[in-house]
Amino acid sequence: MKTLTHLQRLEAESIHILREVVANSDNPVMLYSVGKDSAVMLHLAKKAFFPSPPPFPLLHVDTTWKFQAMYQLRQKAADDAGMQLLVHQNPEALAKAINPFDHGALHTDMWKTEGLKQALDKHRFDVAFGGARRDEEKSRAKERVFSFRSANHQWDPKNQRPELWKLYNARKAKGESIRVFPLSNWTELDIWQYIHLQSIEIVPLYFAAPRPTVERDGLLLMVDDERFPLRDGEVPVERSIRFRTLGCYPLTGAVESQATSLPQIIQEMLLTTTSERQGRAIDKDAGASMEKKKQEGYF
């Protein structure tokens, strides 16, 4: 057993990162989106500090538009880990009833980008763990594991700290913060494989089941609750679908699928011909939209 497998190495690296943060920061938090990457990150946190519970809270930046199944798993996951769950909803977005049907890009801006900034400021968190991976998107490929943010939460891609070996520089001035990505070197396949091997609980929406759907603007959307405004002529149709990523349900496209087990999901993923973010409306704007969002403070 002298040579570790790739998953053992990724796991050990992530655990090292999680521990470095705890040893070097005053008030860390883990951003928890209830998705599969969050599930893996949370699982790694449990491992890093076992037998202690992870010594930081979970934070869900809620938009009120997540899938019902996600809300059902949220508290249970926190309880299982012995961690406190904090939920933040941007009060301004709540007051203005910002929603993805009427407000387009403003929905993401206010609920997610602004909501996240508010939550971090309110609790004075100095380090926030996020589940982003470098294989997801081009601008992520260049981001550091420890990604430094100004007091205004801005990311400056041209002024990143060099990151050598496994030496992470966690020093910062008052008011500045750091986003840390323990899953930086994981790929989508690694995530699924690890969930499979470690039997990590994930939201059932990742598995295929008959669900009410409508086809709209090239996306297959699930009618998750009564707030979904049906257009003229639209009638929900029951299809066997599942999701490759989970976000706000009106913005997340499903795929038609019969995959009801993890091996089947992985099988479909390996044989598929489109990338996982393809189901996300947010990435489809101008060429480098994610980079722009990140400079503004999006996770």
Binding site: L4, K142, E291
Partner: protein, 635 residues
């Protein structure tokens, strides 16, 4: 335009996913770096590896095709380079500005590629990317042969300790797959490689554009019987495997203490292996104990190896905390405080020898300063140059000292315990990366000579508390005037004092120093040492130096026992000092006759929390002396 992807056995995936997963689960991981400029076809090669391994999906390919029409340099063909040139700013300028990481997998391995750009910032980026790599691919354009940049890339890869070098001789299609050309380049590289200490390399003739010898052995190079690039990457031995054979070391990251019954020490094993019952030594304390358990959430392990993150518990209640290294008892690592080291400078602000920076090495953080800069290395021809400082992207060999002893191993033996970064104390930026080579004997052999009449005896004889009253402020702010008046008062009171004046010291002790930032740092360091000796002799020392940098004032503060350094900020705004211009220096500086004049073309960092603050616009010299005497009486 390309062969069908061959890495992922689609048949196995569709017919027996469980068998596929079983195989995938046992893959190993190789991290490598590609070195070369855009002209060498580096991005094209990486793009092809991603494409052939099906890491590019249809939607990305569609975007790529659209981009290729708009921005590409390959006419109507797909420009693979666009796949890996990430950020919008870079795409507009046609350059890559940073390190990007790419992922692909074959049936045997997962690969992480560090992709670094090939222009001015190269040294910093390449060293960063190479620091985590097992292997480096040096790309050469077969038409051009070995260039200055080939030598630079090879030198840097060797410097950072990469032992597996692949010489990918690219664009073979453009030299008609000529065996003689390939042999000629190999021979030339062999001569160069030996001269810088590279013991072995693997040369492969390829074409990134045409796909020769990347994944398939090419029919167009029948004279070549070595591995394809990919099969070499799949089979090469991993550094991690070698690390497992070395003596056990684990830097402690975190002490795990959920309740009174459990005390575990968490870390990632840097080298060797550990089993339950092994005797270990905690370094630097030197205490030994026995490993009771190797704790993980998946259950206790009988043994663990290099690369694993674990938590150890011991048989005894032994002192151990973050920064300590747990080592096998009979072969512990060394402890020292002075080293010879290679330093790669990574910041816009140049190295200041004598200034204290924060050194992070393993899980230890200490203050460290460069005591002497032996030489700079020209990365293009490995010549040694005599220099006073290191600027961005410079590499030098230095003597570096830490404020307390640290646990270390030579970088060549252990990257985790020999590689370090330096962090600026004010900006918090990572400003340098370094590699420790060996400890300097001086630190071990020059011991402090204990004397019978110690500093307490000297102070008691004079019946006073020794202190350093450190006056700082702009030129002409009134430091010397106030210090002088204060010393007269102390003398009248029967106190034993001495005034060190900036101008006077520069006539003797510091005659050799100028006014550059580096010289100012050294000036203050020497004055600090002299002041410290005088306090050892029991004196009250007054110093009147501009001492413009917070870092050096802090350095002197840290040299002295707690409470003996009294920072007195003589606060005179620049306009006021310039108006007084007692010595006529501001006029000269404004006229450009004096360079590096504080306040004019050299910065002054005001103290953030001085013990005593004197605003000279509202305070007379007499009043200032009264205030300081009152403060001293109280503290």
């Amino acid at each position: 335009m390309t062969d069908a992807p061959i890495y992922q056995t689609d048949a196995l995936i569709s017919q027996d996913i469980d068998a596929y997963l079983q195989a995938h689960q046992h893959k190993t991981m190789l991290r490598f770096i590609t070195c070369g400029s855009v002209d060498d076809g580096k991005s094209t090669l990486i793009g092809r590896l991603l494409y052939d391994s099906k890491m590019i999906f249809e939607d990305q390919l569609a975007a790529l095709e659209a981009d290729s029409q708009k921005l590409g340099t390959q006419g109507q063909q797909i420009d693979f380079a666009l796949l890996v040139d990430g950020l919008a700013a870079e795409r507009e300028q046609g350059i890559t500005i940073d390190v990007a990481y790419r992922f692909f997998a074959t049936e045997k391995r997962k690969f992480i590629v560090a992709d670094t750009p090939g222009h001015e910032q190269y040294t910093r980026n390449m060293v960063t990317g190479a620091s985590t790599a097992d292997l480096a691919i040096i790309l050469i354009d077969a038409r051009k042969g070995i260039l200055t940049q080939t030598r630079r890339h090879s030198y840097l890869a060797h410097l950072i300790g990469i032992k597996k070098i692949v010489l990918a001789i690219n664009k073979m299609d453009l030299v008609d797959y000529d065996a003689a050309r390939f042999a000629e380049i190999c021979a030339a590289y062999q001569d160069f490689a030996s001269s810088i200490g590279i013991e072995a390399f693997t040369a492969i003739p390829i074409s990134g554009l045409a796909g020769d010898n990347i994944t398939h052995a090419s029919a167009r190079t029948p004279w070549y019987d070595g591995p394809t690039l990919l099969s070499h990457l799949e089979d090469v031995e991993l550094d991690q495997t070698q690390a497992a054979d070395k003596p056990f070391r684990m830097p402690v990251q975190w002490v795990n203490r959920p309740n009174l019954d459990f005390r575990g020490f968490s870390g990632q094993i840097a080298s060797g292996s550990i089993s339950q019952g092994d005797m270990v030594r905690i370094v630097p304390s030197g205490k030994t104990t026995k490993v009771a358990r190797i704790v993980t959430m998946d259950g206790d392990l009988p043994m663990a190896v290099a690369g694993q993150s674990v938590t150890l518990t011991f048989d005894d209640e032994i002192d151990c905390s973050r920064g300590d290294v747990i080592a096998i008892a009979d072969a512990p690592p060394m402890v020292a405080d002075q080293f010879e080291s290679t330093l790669v400078w990574m910041d816009e602000a140049a190295l200041l020898p004598g200034r204290n920076y924060i050194m992070k090495i393993g899980t230890q953080s200490v203050e460290a300063c460069v005591q002497s800069l032996k030489y700079q290395i020209n990365v293009n021809n490995t010549e040694h140059l005599a220099v006073k400082t290191l600027a961005l992207n410079d590499i030098g060999v230095v003597e570096i000292a830490t404020t307390r002893p640290i646990v270390f191993e030579a970088y060549g033996d252990n990257r985790d315990l020999g590689g370090f970064i330096l962090i600026d104390k004010m900006t918090h930026a990572t400003i340098a990366a370094g590699m420790l080579h060996f400890s300097l004997r001086r630190a071990q052999n020059v011991h402090w000579q204990a004397t019978d009449i110690d500093r307490q005896a000297h102070a008691a004889q004079k019946n006073q508390t020794p202190r350093v009253l450190w006056f700082t402020g702009l030129s002409g702010s009134g430091k010397s005037t106030i210090a002088n008046a204060l010393e007269k008062r102390l003398y009248q009171d029967g106190q034993h004092s001495f005034l060190l004046d900036g101008d006077n010291v520069r006539h003797g002790l510091n005659k050799d120093l100028g006014f550059t930032d580096a010289a100012r740092v050294e000036n203050i360091r020497r004055v600090g040492e002299v002041a410290k000796l005088m306090t050892d002799a029991g004196l009250i020392v007054l110093t009147a130096f501009i001492s413009p940098f917070q870092a050096e004032r802090e350095m002197v503060r840290n040299m002295l026992p707690e409470g003996e350094f009294i920072e007195i900020f003589v606060d005179t705004p620049l306009a006021v000092a310039e108006q007084r211009d007692v010595k006529g220096l501001y006029k000269k500086a404004r006229a450009g006759e004096l360079k590096n004049f504080t306040g004019i073309d050299s910065p002054y960092e005001a103290p953030s929390a001085p013990e005593i603050h004197i605003d000279t616009r509202t305070t007379s010299v007499e009043q200032a002396v009264d205030d300081i005497m009152a403060w001293l009486a109280k503290n």
